[in-house]
Subunit: 329 residues, 2 copies
């Protein structure tokens, strides 16, 4: 049987009000004796507070929710770590929901979390791909990490790196290193259109023609990198550089290139985006544009909690990317 405050109150011969006060530290006016008795009973009886009841009453749960699109992509767990380390400091719990890039799951996660389970939501998917309806019904603060959204219009907070500029720079790196026929493999998520822009811009600035046949778009995963490379290479054997939308894609590219006996970076250079933990351990070590995932998570949580606790307005925070030169360029 579940032990409730009532049980403790009964055992201690006091009212539930007294028990509640003691257990919540509101015990200035409680006798030392009663206090002790209650704490002991709590331990002895194995009392666990019922969060449903408490939440129903207090209308807050001391927890923040984190919605991520793909837990298998190390970039997101890294953000999660940042969020949690920060939340822990402020004594907030964090629950995570993985949507697996599934729109329905995303909607459900939002509904679930906003059903008063969390005091705020940190989000890493473009909100643009879920219906406006869902967004409007979110009645807790939200801060978006790493995804460009119309934050201000929606009243959201935002922590991000300029991905367009990042891909622009990635492309420039390749150009600087002598690549003349540069392909691009990325995801065709609504938000990722941006990224591609960086590639196009860089090419134009270098007076190189942008050819659609050099662009392959699917998902942010290894198989996209592999399949994209196969297809692109087949149509254009002379490609000498590949800009990747993220590191997972880059891993797939590396793998495909290896199967095609291409020498990296002699025959072809590749550059990733994110700098996931494993980028430095790949074959060969991946050159990539780094996003400070952990720090972004930390700041997102910080922003959220300050807002929750002190009413600090949610803001827009931009981080800088950096270039991690390794062995693929």
């Amino acid at each position: 049987m579940t032990v409730t405050m009532k049980d403790i109150a009964h055992a201690a011969g006091v009212s539930t009000a007294t028990v509640s006060k003691v257990l919540n530290g509101l015990d200035e006016h409680i006798s030392e004796e009663t206090r002790q008795k209650i704490w002991n009973l709590k331990e002895k009886m194995g009392y666990i507070p019922n969060n449903f009841a408490r939440g129903l009453k207090k209308k807050s749960s001391g927890t923040i929710g984190f919605i991520l699109p793909d837990i298998a992509n190390p970039f997101f767990p890294e953000i999660a770590r940042g969020i949690q380390d920060e939340a822990r400091k402020e004594d907030f719990a964090v629950v995570m929901c993985n949507t697996g890039n599934n729109a329905e799951a995303e909607t459900k996660a939002i509904e679930f979390l906003t059903s008063k389970m969390v005091d705020g939501i940190i989000y890493t998917r473009s909100v643009m791909n879920v219906g406006a309806k869902e967004i409007k019904t979110i009645d807790v603060p939200v801060v978006a990490v790493d995804r460009r959204i119309h934050a201000k219009k929606l009243g959201f907070g935002q922590v991000y790196v300029d991905a367009v500029a990042g891909i622009h720079e990635a492309t420039n790196v390749l150009i600087r290193h002598g690549c003349r026929k540069i392909a691009c493999i990325s995801a065709k998520y609504p938000t990722s259109g941006d990224r591609i822009e960086g590639y196009r811009q860089a090419l134009k600035e270098a007076r190189m023609t942008v050819r659609e046949s050099l662009i392959y778009l699917d998902s942010f995963d290894v198989s996209t990198g592999y399949a994209g490379t196969e297809k692109l290479l087949h149509a254009n054997p002379s490609i000498d550089g590949i800009v990747c939308g993220d590191d997972l894609i880059a891993f797939g590219v590396l793998h495909a290139l290896r199967d095609h006996r291409k020498r990296i970076p002699e025959d072809i250079k590749v550059i990733g985006f994110d700098d996931i933990y494993f980028a430095k351990y790949s074959t060969p070590a991946l050159t990539t544009i780094r996003q400070p995932a952990y720090e972004m998570g930390k700041e997102a949580a910080h922003m959220m909690i300050s807002h929750l606790l002190n009413g600090t307005p949610l803001s827009s925070l931009k981080f800088d990317y950096s270039i991690e030169m390794r062995e693929t360029v």
Copy 2:
């Protein structure tokens, strides 16, 4: 303002009971007209159910909790994916709590989740390292994944791979490939003592002496692998094989070996454990003992949900490991 059932009931000119019935699909005896009216109102007013209230009443939340020790270790997200795919099928939500290998966080996660927030808990840490007190207070079913625990005694379910046998086999692989001086680097978590046993046994069976100076124990992370290799190599330059407690450690080992200009596998062979997603992309590709993480997660969720829904008893499910021969042996 938050929209409640009362608001809808008021707007529709019916009672909250009727609204509740309709919104929960218990509408066999509700007129089509009322039904429509309520659904429309729900949409129009942006009603979101209050999970606290519902949970308080129903004593269940349709969600299962997943506690993992290190979200940055790809092995765990893989389990998480399995859990979620299965849960999704049964219309259960899953929330995750990352403890970061922090005992306090673990205790909090348990308290938090058991505070009636979830109907069951899936656990990937040895329960042995949290106090018996916490365990006793868990009043929801739990199934442990990948961790040996006294499942039966505690009434837990269990899904696992025999890690001792796995490490035993890993060591054998090295022996079979001619290694004569085999070191072992693993974690000194309470549960990991087991793993080491497999190494010791294999050595004994091959009539090789077990030397403590060839064993390095710290944590399941890359830096342990790196530091361990440095230390071990310094004391025993002639080591020709290293058995790793997990793949993260193996990655650190590979890195250190590279810095020491050791040729792999010619000079020294290394074998990992888990077969995380990135194992095949390392330099060189890691030979390792595979645990079917995704499947284990799926089965754990299946077991949990069957138990929750149909009362199927929690059981003990053993999976087989397999050997992934790649380039480090």
